[in-house]
Protein backbone atom coordinates (compact mmCIF):
# COMPACT_ATOMS: atom_id res chain seq x y z
CA UNK A 1 0.00 0.00 0.00
CA UNK A 2 1.36 3.37 -1.02
CA UNK A 3 2.00 5.82 1.76
CA UNK A 4 0.26 9.16 1.70
CA UNK A 5 2.23 12.38 1.69
CA UNK A 6 1.30 12.96 5.31
CA UNK A 7 2.51 9.50 6.35
CA UNK A 8 5.81 10.03 4.59
CA UNK A 9 6.24 13.36 6.33
CA UNK A 10 5.53 11.71 9.67
CA UNK A 11 8.15 9.07 8.97
CA UNK A 12 10.68 11.66 7.92
CA UNK A 13 10.10 13.70 11.02
CA UNK A 14 10.15 10.51 13.09
CA UNK A 15 13.79 9.88 12.26
CA UNK A 16 13.74 8.40 8.77
CA UNK A 17 15.22 11.15 6.61
CA UNK A 18 15.45 8.79 3.62
CA UNK A 19 11.66 8.59 3.56
CA UNK A 20 11.66 12.12 2.21
CA UNK A 21 13.10 10.76 -1.04
CA UNK A 22 9.72 9.16 -1.66
CA UNK A 23 8.16 12.59 -1.64
CA UNK A 24 10.87 13.86 -3.96
CA UNK A 25 10.24 11.07 -6.43
CA UNK A 26 6.51 11.61 -6.22
CA UNK A 27 6.56 15.36 -6.82
CA UNK A 28 9.75 16.16 -8.71
CA UNK A 29 8.16 16.02 -12.14
CA UNK A 30 5.37 18.40 -11.22
CA UNK A 31 7.72 20.81 -9.50
CA UNK A 32 10.21 20.73 -12.37
CA UNK A 33 7.41 21.33 -14.85
CA UNK A 34 6.16 24.25 -12.82
CA UNK A 35 9.60 25.84 -12.42
CA UNK A 36 10.52 25.28 -16.06
CA UNK A 37 7.38 26.95 -17.30
CA UNK A 38 7.67 29.73 -14.81
CA UNK A 39 11.33 30.44 -15.50
CA UNK A 40 11.60 29.29 -19.11
CA UNK A 41 15.17 28.11 -18.62
CA UNK A 42 16.10 24.50 -18.13
CA UNK A 43 19.15 24.85 -15.88
CA UNK A 44 17.48 27.46 -13.74
CA UNK A 45 14.44 25.21 -13.42
CA UNK A 46 16.61 22.30 -12.26
CA UNK A 47 18.23 24.51 -9.64
CA UNK A 48 14.86 25.81 -8.53
CA UNK A 49 13.54 22.26 -8.20
CA UNK A 50 16.51 21.23 -6.07
CA UNK A 51 16.12 24.32 -3.93
CA UNK A 52 12.40 23.68 -3.53
CA UNK A 53 12.90 20.20 -2.11
CA UNK A 54 15.80 21.25 0.08
CA UNK A 55 13.73 24.10 1.44
CA UNK A 56 10.80 21.75 2.00
CA UNK A 57 13.03 19.31 3.87
CA UNK A 58 14.50 22.00 6.07
CA UNK A 59 11.10 23.44 6.85
CA UNK A 60 9.29 20.15 7.19
CA UNK A 61 8.84 20.57 10.96
CA UNK A 62 6.91 23.75 10.19
CA UNK A 63 4.47 21.92 7.95
CA UNK A 64 1.28 21.69 9.96
CA UNK A 65 -0.77 19.51 7.72
CA UNK A 66 -3.60 22.03 7.47
CA UNK A 67 -3.00 22.38 3.76
CA UNK A 68 -2.05 19.61 1.39
CA UNK A 69 1.62 18.90 0.97
CA UNK A 70 1.29 19.58 -2.77
CA UNK A 71 -0.09 23.07 -2.09
CA UNK A 72 2.68 23.74 0.36
CA UNK A 73 5.49 22.62 -1.96
CA UNK A 74 3.97 24.45 -4.94
CA UNK A 75 4.01 27.60 -2.87
CA UNK A 76 7.68 27.07 -2.00
CA UNK A 77 8.51 26.48 -5.67
CA UNK A 78 6.67 29.61 -6.78
CA UNK A 79 8.43 31.69 -4.14
CA UNK A 80 11.78 30.41 -5.35
CA UNK A 81 10.82 31.16 -8.96
CA UNK A 82 9.73 34.62 -7.98
CA UNK A 83 13.05 35.25 -6.22
CA UNK A 84 14.97 34.01 -9.24
CA UNK A 85 12.97 36.14 -11.64
CA UNK A 86 13.50 39.23 -9.52
CA UNK A 87 17.23 38.64 -9.28
CA UNK A 88 17.47 38.22 -13.04
CA UNK A 89 19.13 41.04 -14.86
CA UNK A 90 16.91 42.78 -17.36
CA UNK A 91 19.65 42.35 -19.90
CA UNK A 92 20.40 38.72 -19.16
CA UNK A 93 18.72 36.76 -21.90
CA UNK A 94 19.29 33.06 -22.36
CA UNK A 95 20.46 31.64 -25.67
CA UNK A 96 17.03 30.17 -26.34
CA UNK A 97 15.42 33.49 -25.69
CA UNK A 98 17.93 35.28 -27.91
CA UNK A 99 17.22 32.82 -30.69
CA UNK A 100 13.51 33.30 -30.24
CA UNK A 101 13.75 37.07 -30.09
CA UNK A 102 16.01 37.50 -33.08
CA UNK A 103 15.52 34.73 -35.54
CA UNK A 104 12.19 33.21 -34.80
CA UNK A 105 9.28 33.71 -37.14
CA UNK A 106 6.62 31.27 -38.07
CA UNK A 107 7.13 29.68 -41.42
CA UNK A 108 4.95 31.17 -44.14
CA UNK A 109 3.42 27.89 -45.01
CA UNK A 110 3.19 25.69 -41.97
CA UNK A 111 1.43 22.96 -43.87
CA UNK A 112 4.68 22.23 -45.65
CA UNK A 113 6.48 21.60 -42.43
CA UNK A 114 6.43 18.40 -40.49
CA UNK A 115 4.09 18.24 -37.55
CA UNK A 116 7.00 17.95 -35.15
CA UNK A 117 8.60 21.14 -36.40
CA UNK A 118 5.24 22.86 -36.33
CA UNK A 119 4.68 21.74 -32.76
CA UNK A 120 8.13 22.97 -31.80
CA UNK A 121 7.47 26.37 -33.30
CA UNK A 122 4.13 26.68 -31.57
CA UNK A 123 5.79 25.63 -28.34
CA UNK A 124 8.34 28.40 -28.73
CA UNK A 125 5.61 30.93 -29.32
CA UNK A 126 3.67 29.67 -26.33
CA UNK A 127 6.78 29.75 -24.20
CA UNK A 128 7.54 33.31 -25.21
CA UNK A 129 3.95 34.41 -24.76
CA UNK A 130 3.86 32.91 -21.28
CA UNK A 131 7.13 34.53 -20.32
CA UNK A 132 5.65 37.85 -21.38
CA UNK A 133 2.78 37.55 -18.93
CA UNK A 134 2.92 39.11 -15.48
CA UNK A 135 4.05 36.67 -12.79
CA UNK A 136 0.63 36.56 -11.10
CA UNK A 137 -1.19 35.55 -14.27
CA UNK A 138 1.51 33.19 -15.41
CA UNK A 139 1.56 31.14 -12.24
CA UNK A 140 -2.22 30.71 -12.31
CA UNK A 141 -2.25 29.60 -15.95
CA UNK A 142 0.64 27.19 -15.44
CA UNK A 143 -0.89 25.61 -12.37
CA UNK A 144 -4.22 25.28 -14.14
CA UNK A 145 -3.09 24.18 -17.58
CA UNK A 146 -0.05 22.06 -16.81
CA UNK A 147 -0.43 20.99 -13.21
CA UNK A 148 -4.15 20.40 -13.49
CA UNK A 149 -5.01 22.05 -10.22
CA UNK A 150 -8.54 23.11 -9.55
CA UNK A 151 -9.25 26.79 -9.06
CA UNK A 152 -9.84 26.17 -5.37
CA UNK A 153 -6.45 24.45 -5.06
CA UNK A 154 -4.70 27.34 -6.81
CA UNK A 155 -6.43 29.68 -4.41
CA UNK A 156 -5.11 27.58 -1.55
CA UNK A 157 -1.56 27.54 -2.91
CA UNK A 158 -1.51 31.28 -3.45
CA UNK A 159 -3.60 32.18 -0.47
CA UNK A 160 -5.92 34.37 -2.50
CA UNK A 161 -9.69 34.32 -3.06
CA UNK A 162 -11.16 31.97 -5.64
CA UNK A 163 -12.64 34.85 -7.60
CA UNK A 164 -9.20 36.45 -7.90
CA UNK A 165 -7.82 33.22 -9.31
CA UNK A 166 -10.54 33.08 -11.96
CA UNK A 167 -10.12 36.72 -12.84
CA UNK A 168 -6.37 36.28 -13.23
CA UNK A 169 -7.02 33.23 -15.35
CA UNK A 170 -9.43 35.09 -17.56
CA UNK A 171 -7.08 38.07 -17.96
CA UNK A 172 -4.15 35.81 -18.63
CA UNK A 173 -5.97 33.83 -21.28
CA UNK A 174 -7.12 37.07 -22.92
CA UNK A 175 -3.51 38.25 -23.06
CA UNK A 176 -2.36 34.96 -24.52
CA UNK A 177 -5.16 35.10 -27.05
CA UNK A 178 -3.83 38.43 -28.29
CA UNK A 179 -0.27 37.17 -28.44
CA UNK A 180 -1.07 33.86 -30.06
CA UNK A 181 -3.88 34.97 -32.35
CA UNK A 182 -1.65 34.82 -35.41
CA UNK A 183 -1.12 31.11 -34.82
CA UNK A 184 -4.80 30.49 -35.33
CA UNK A 185 -4.43 29.52 -38.95
CA UNK A 186 -1.62 27.15 -38.09
CA UNK A 187 -3.84 25.38 -35.63
Amino acid sequence: MELSDTQIIERTLGGEPDAFNMLVRRWERQIYGLTLRMLGRDEEAKDATQETFLSAYRNLPKFRGEAKFSSWIYRIALNICNTKLRSRSKFAVSLDEQRELTGFELAADLEDLGSEIQREQITRHVRRALQGLPFEMRQVIIMKEYEGLKFSEIAEVLGIPLSTVKTRMYTGLSELRKRLEHLREAM
Binding site: Y57, H125, L130, K144, F151, K166, L176, R177
Partner: protein, 244 residues
Amino acid sequence: MNTQNNCNMHEALMSYLYEESTPDEKLRVETHLTDCGACKQEIHAFERVRGMLQQWQLDDMPVLRVSTEQTGNRSILAVLKELISVTPIWAKALSAVAMAMLVLAVLGTDVSVGRGGVTFHADLLRRNRVAEQSVVGRPENPTSNERASVEQIRAEMKSLVNQLVADRESEQKEQIKAELASLQLQLQNVHSADLAKVISRIQEQQTRLKTIERDIDRREGLDLTDILFSEVSKPAERSTAGGD
Protein backbone atom coordinates in the same frame (compact mmCIF):
# COMPACT_ATOMS: atom_id res chain seq x y z
CA MET B 1 -26.58 38.91 -30.98
CA ASN B 2 -24.25 40.65 -28.52
CA THR B 3 -20.72 40.87 -29.90
CA GLN B 4 -19.11 43.03 -27.19
CA ASN B 5 -17.96 41.09 -24.15
CA ASN B 6 -19.14 43.23 -21.33
CA CYS B 7 -21.33 40.57 -19.83
CA ASN B 8 -19.41 40.26 -16.59
CA MET B 9 -19.38 36.49 -17.03
CA HIS B 10 -15.62 36.09 -16.62
CA GLU B 11 -15.59 33.83 -13.60
CA ALA B 12 -18.46 31.73 -14.86
CA LEU B 13 -16.80 31.38 -18.24
CA MET B 14 -13.60 30.18 -16.58
CA SER B 15 -15.43 27.58 -14.55
CA TYR B 16 -17.29 26.48 -17.67
CA LEU B 17 -14.12 26.34 -19.76
CA TYR B 18 -12.39 24.12 -17.23
CA GLU B 19 -15.47 22.08 -16.42
CA GLU B 20 -15.65 23.17 -12.85
CA SER B 21 -19.12 24.68 -13.04
CA THR B 22 -21.89 23.50 -10.85
CA PRO B 23 -24.86 22.13 -12.82
CA ASP B 24 -26.80 25.36 -12.30
CA GLU B 25 -23.87 27.49 -13.35
CA LYS B 26 -23.27 25.33 -16.41
CA LEU B 27 -26.87 25.72 -17.50
CA ARG B 28 -26.71 29.45 -17.00
CA VAL B 29 -23.55 29.77 -19.10
CA GLU B 30 -24.86 27.58 -21.88
CA THR B 31 -28.04 29.62 -22.02
CA HIS B 32 -25.98 32.78 -22.14
CA LEU B 33 -23.74 31.47 -24.90
CA THR B 34 -26.68 30.84 -27.19
CA ASP B 35 -27.51 34.51 -26.92
CA CYS B 36 -24.08 36.17 -26.56
CA GLY B 37 -21.82 36.02 -29.63
CA ALA B 38 -18.92 37.74 -27.90
CA CYS B 39 -18.80 35.24 -25.07
CA LYS B 40 -19.23 32.34 -27.48
CA GLN B 41 -16.43 33.68 -29.63
CA GLU B 42 -14.30 34.19 -26.56
CA ILE B 43 -14.87 30.67 -25.30
CA HIS B 44 -13.83 29.29 -28.69
CA ALA B 45 -10.76 31.51 -28.71
CA PHE B 46 -9.81 30.35 -25.22
CA GLU B 47 -10.21 26.75 -26.29
CA ARG B 48 -7.78 27.39 -29.14
CA VAL B 49 -5.34 29.05 -26.74
CA ARG B 50 -5.60 26.04 -24.46
CA GLY B 51 -4.86 23.80 -27.41
CA MET B 52 -1.72 25.80 -28.13
CA LEU B 53 -0.67 25.78 -24.49
CA GLN B 54 -0.95 22.01 -24.46
CA GLN B 55 1.59 21.82 -27.29
CA TRP B 56 4.27 22.64 -24.75
CA GLN B 57 4.83 19.31 -23.07
CA LEU B 58 7.93 18.12 -21.31
CA ASP B 59 9.65 15.43 -23.30
CA ASP B 60 12.20 14.30 -20.75
CA MET B 61 12.42 14.60 -17.09
CA PRO B 62 15.95 15.39 -15.92
CA VAL B 63 17.38 13.21 -13.20
CA LEU B 64 16.85 15.12 -10.02
CA ARG B 65 17.77 13.72 -6.68
CA VAL B 66 17.71 15.68 -3.49
CA SER B 67 20.04 14.26 -0.90
CA THR B 68 18.60 14.71 2.53
CA GLU B 69 22.03 14.11 4.01
CA GLN B 70 23.08 17.56 2.94
CA THR B 71 20.47 19.27 5.00
CA GLY B 72 20.49 17.56 8.37
CA ASN B 73 23.04 17.80 11.13
CA ARG B 74 25.94 16.07 9.50
CA SER B 75 28.62 14.38 11.46
CA ILE B 76 32.15 15.74 11.49
CA LEU B 77 33.29 12.53 9.83
CA ALA B 78 30.84 13.04 6.94
CA VAL B 79 31.99 16.62 6.50
CA LEU B 80 35.63 15.49 6.54
CA LYS B 81 34.90 12.76 4.00
CA GLU B 82 33.30 15.27 1.65
CA LEU B 83 36.15 17.71 2.18
CA ILE B 84 38.74 15.04 1.41
CA SER B 85 36.83 13.95 -1.68
CA VAL B 86 36.94 17.45 -3.18
CA THR B 87 40.48 18.34 -2.05
CA PRO B 88 43.19 18.23 -4.76
CA ILE B 89 45.89 15.59 -4.40
CA TRP B 90 48.71 18.04 -3.61
CA ALA B 91 46.67 19.48 -0.76
CA LYS B 92 46.00 15.94 0.48
CA ALA B 93 49.75 15.17 0.46
CA LEU B 94 50.56 18.40 2.23
CA SER B 95 47.90 17.73 4.82
CA ALA B 96 49.23 14.21 5.35
CA VAL B 97 52.75 15.54 5.97
CA ALA B 98 51.45 18.20 8.32
CA MET B 99 49.39 15.63 10.16
CA ALA B 100 52.39 13.29 10.46
CA MET B 101 54.53 16.14 11.83
CA LEU B 102 51.83 17.01 14.30
CA VAL B 103 51.54 13.43 15.49
CA LEU B 104 55.32 13.15 15.83
CA ALA B 105 55.44 16.39 17.75
CA VAL B 106 52.74 15.20 20.12
CA LEU B 107 54.60 11.93 20.65
CA GLY B 108 57.73 13.88 21.46
CA THR B 109 59.67 12.38 18.61
CA ASP B 110 63.18 13.59 17.91
CA VAL B 111 64.39 13.34 14.36
CA SER B 112 68.14 13.74 13.88
CA VAL B 113 70.37 13.43 10.87
CA GLY B 114 74.02 12.64 11.51
CA ARG B 115 76.90 10.44 10.50
CA GLY B 116 74.99 7.47 11.74
CA GLY B 117 72.14 8.25 9.37
CA VAL B 118 68.62 9.39 10.20
CA THR B 119 67.50 8.50 13.69
CA PHE B 120 64.06 8.72 15.27
CA HIS B 121 63.42 8.81 18.91
CA ALA B 122 59.80 8.66 20.07
CA ASP B 123 59.19 9.62 23.65
CA LEU B 124 55.58 10.03 24.76
CA LEU B 125 55.16 13.04 27.04
CA ARG B 126 58.99 13.45 27.04
CA ARG B 127 59.42 11.63 30.36
CA ASN B 128 62.43 9.53 29.41
CA ARG B 129 64.14 12.44 27.81
CA VAL B 130 63.92 14.43 31.00
CA ALA B 131 65.32 11.47 32.89
CA GLU B 132 68.19 11.09 30.45
CA GLN B 133 68.95 14.74 30.64
CA SER B 134 68.96 14.61 34.38
CA VAL B 135 71.42 11.70 34.33
CA VAL B 136 73.75 12.92 31.65
CA GLY B 137 73.30 16.57 32.35
CA ARG B 138 73.40 19.33 29.84
CA PRO B 139 76.78 20.77 28.79
CA GLU B 140 77.52 24.15 30.27
CA ASN B 141 78.42 25.69 26.99
CA PRO B 142 76.57 23.76 24.28
CA THR B 143 77.11 26.39 21.63
CA SER B 144 80.88 26.21 21.60
CA ASN B 145 80.79 22.41 21.70
CA GLU B 146 78.38 22.32 18.84
CA ARG B 147 80.54 24.71 16.88
CA ALA B 148 83.62 22.57 17.53
CA SER B 149 81.71 19.51 16.49
CA VAL B 150 80.53 21.20 13.33
CA GLU B 151 84.07 22.35 12.56
CA GLN B 152 85.38 18.86 13.10
CA ILE B 153 82.72 17.35 10.87
CA ARG B 154 83.42 19.98 8.26
CA ALA B 155 87.16 19.25 8.34
CA GLU B 156 86.56 15.52 8.12
CA MET B 157 84.16 16.00 5.25
CA LYS B 158 86.66 18.22 3.50
CA SER B 159 89.50 15.73 3.82
CA LEU B 160 87.19 12.95 2.75
CA VAL B 161 86.13 14.87 -0.31
CA ASN B 162 89.76 15.73 -1.13
CA GLN B 163 90.77 12.12 -0.76
CA LEU B 164 87.95 11.04 -3.01
CA VAL B 165 88.90 13.62 -5.60
CA ALA B 166 92.58 12.53 -5.49
CA ASP B 167 91.64 8.87 -5.82
CA ARG B 168 89.42 9.64 -8.70
CA GLU B 169 92.10 11.66 -10.45
CA SER B 170 94.68 8.89 -10.12
CA GLU B 171 92.20 6.37 -11.41
CA GLN B 172 91.53 8.54 -14.41
CA LYS B 173 95.27 8.95 -15.06
CA GLU B 174 95.79 5.20 -15.00
CA GLN B 175 92.91 4.73 -17.36
CA ILE B 176 94.29 7.32 -19.78
CA LYS B 177 97.74 5.72 -19.68
CA ALA B 178 96.35 2.31 -20.42
CA GLU B 179 94.34 3.68 -23.30
CA LEU B 180 97.41 5.43 -24.72
CA ALA B 181 99.50 2.28 -24.51
CA SER B 182 96.80 0.34 -26.24
CA LEU B 183 96.57 2.91 -29.01
CA GLN B 184 100.36 2.85 -29.51
CA LEU B 185 100.33 -0.89 -29.72
CA GLN B 186 97.57 -0.83 -32.28
CA LEU B 187 99.47 1.77 -34.28
CA GLN B 188 102.67 -0.26 -34.16
CA ASN B 189 100.83 -3.33 -35.28
CA VAL B 190 99.34 -1.44 -38.19
CA HIS B 191 102.77 -0.03 -39.11
CA SER B 192 104.55 -3.33 -38.89
CA ALA B 193 101.88 -5.03 -41.01
CA ASP B 194 102.17 -2.32 -43.65
CA LEU B 195 105.98 -2.48 -43.47
CA ALA B 196 105.98 -6.22 -43.91
CA LYS B 197 103.77 -5.87 -46.97
CA VAL B 198 106.05 -3.23 -48.46
CA ILE B 199 109.15 -5.34 -47.72
CA SER B 200 107.61 -8.39 -49.29
CA ARG B 201 106.63 -6.42 -52.37
CA ILE B 202 110.12 -4.93 -52.59
CA GLN B 203 111.64 -8.40 -52.31
CA GLU B 204 109.29 -9.66 -54.96
CA GLN B 205 110.22 -6.84 -57.26
CA GLN B 206 113.90 -7.48 -56.62
CA THR B 207 113.46 -11.14 -57.48
CA ARG B 208 111.68 -10.29 -60.69
CA LEU B 209 114.41 -7.75 -61.52
CA LYS B 210 117.14 -10.32 -61.01
CA THR B 211 115.31 -12.80 -63.21
CA ILE B 212 115.01 -10.25 -65.96
CA GLU B 213 118.70 -9.38 -65.65
CA ARG B 214 119.71 -13.04 -65.94
CA ASP B 215 117.59 -13.46 -69.03
CA ILE B 216 119.16 -10.41 -70.56
CA ASP B 217 122.67 -11.64 -69.76
CA ARG B 218 122.01 -15.02 -71.27
CA ARG B 219 120.50 -13.55 -74.40
CA GLU B 220 123.39 -11.19 -74.83
CA GLY B 221 125.81 -14.17 -74.79
CA LEU B 222 123.99 -16.23 -77.55
CA ASP B 223 124.00 -15.67 -81.33
CA LEU B 224 121.12 -16.30 -83.68
CA THR B 225 122.10 -19.84 -84.59
CA ASP B 226 122.35 -20.82 -80.95
CA ILE B 227 118.90 -19.50 -80.39
CA LEU B 228 117.57 -21.27 -83.44
CA PHE B 229 119.20 -24.54 -82.53
CA SER B 230 118.14 -24.24 -79.02
CA GLU B 231 114.54 -23.72 -80.20
CA VAL B 232 114.76 -26.71 -82.63
CA SER B 233 116.44 -29.01 -80.13
CA LYS B 234 113.82 -28.33 -77.49
CA PRO B 235 111.03 -30.27 -79.33
CA ALA B 236 113.44 -33.13 -80.01
CA GLU B 237 114.39 -33.23 -76.38
CA ARG B 238 110.73 -33.13 -75.48
CA SER B 239 109.93 -36.04 -77.86
CA THR B 240 112.89 -38.04 -76.51
CA ALA B 241 111.80 -37.34 -73.01
CA GLY B 242 108.23 -38.29 -74.02
CA GLY B 243 109.51 -41.58 -75.59
CA ASP B 244 111.12 -42.50 -72.29
